[in-house]
Symmetry: C2
Subunit: 220 residues, 2 copies
Amino acid sequence: MKVLNVPEATVNRLSVYSRFLDQLDKSGVITVSSGEIANGVGVSPAQVRKDLAYFGEFGTRGVGYNVKDLAHHILKILGLTHPWPVVLVGAGNLGTALCAYRGFRNRGFNIVGVFDNDLLKIGKRIQDLEVLPVERVPAVVAEHGVRIGIIAVPQSATQEVADLLVKSGVEALLTFGPAVVQVPEKVIVRNVDLSIKLEVLTFYLSFRKIHSGPWTKDDV
Amino acid sequence: MKVLNVPEATVNRLSVYSRFLDQLDKSGVITVSSGEIANGVGVSPAQVRKDLAYFGEFGTRGVGYNVKDLAHHILKILGLTHPWPVVLVGAGNLGTALCAYRGFRNRGFNIVGVFDNDLLKIGKRIQDLEVLPVERVPAVVAEHGVRIGIIAVPQSATQEVADLLVKSGVEALLTFGPAVVQVPEKVIVRNVDLSIKLEVLTFYLSFRKIHSGPWTKDDV
């Protein structure tokens, strides 16, 4: 399998399929068709089949997919069959919110260290973690074998923190907001842009506004 | 134009193209090819052309696209040629972080009201806004003609807040975290799942780990 050939949109959809399969499994559903997955997450059945086909053959023709098996396969593809220790730099409002975010722990992401350079924040407890000075990043990364770092600091400090994380051996960074960071080519960086989802909303709302007459379901 | 026929992935990519075109424009670039856009944002040139083709003809064969014109066209498609007033319910860490988030204002999203039901938070100032009691939501929504609401409350309160926003006339909701909300069909809901981007990182990191020998650029 050449990872390069898998579109990142497919990887994103696998995450979505995975959540849907978990729901089905919790509801006691045993098998599911690509059409049902497609319906459940809002893509075409052909897209579901194409996305899964990158990783081999899963289903049984005429029967569909075994929910538990497919859920496990997808977790395996995403690298989520084991937990991932993560460090978080920035103990401000965003960092504090991220520490409390249940979505991370549900998916096996364990924040093992929270860091800040603000003396007022260092020593504070967030959830079950004590905020440590940023100087401790290398030691915590080494101790827990951390490969992923989340950066939740003001834009002006993002590059400096990225440099520190990379120097400490972190291989993948998640940033927030519009800052662009320069890292060595082998380091993977993704950015969460919180306004992109709002733009999906304005796209649909704008269409409604220019639409004459009362809005009906068929329009959207 | 039937909005239904435009895949939501296309809408998301338009947001990404839009940011890239803004960067080019700021750098003084006048024209750009679909190949250059594709390169800049990491999709195929065919994908760029297909995404834009949903909305008519933009470029000139052999010349490419005028950066300013295309940027404006895309903003128009996304409904972003005018600002959008937004209300935010939840003045905890996440809500406070969202108020400070520059990415919203950059794209024309103005938070015109922040609400909470916690007496300790009501009356506090966040950025230039005073936290108001949730009871004030309907009045603020009416006053500013708000169509979009952001929900940043604990999972257990999400449904109640969604109901209040919808009753107040809000037509589109952005939620965070794993809670699923029930709303009338005409209301658009999108959810920001902060762990999905982390799963892109683990996907690539996992591939590295099973790969034998030193990692090289060609592998990813």
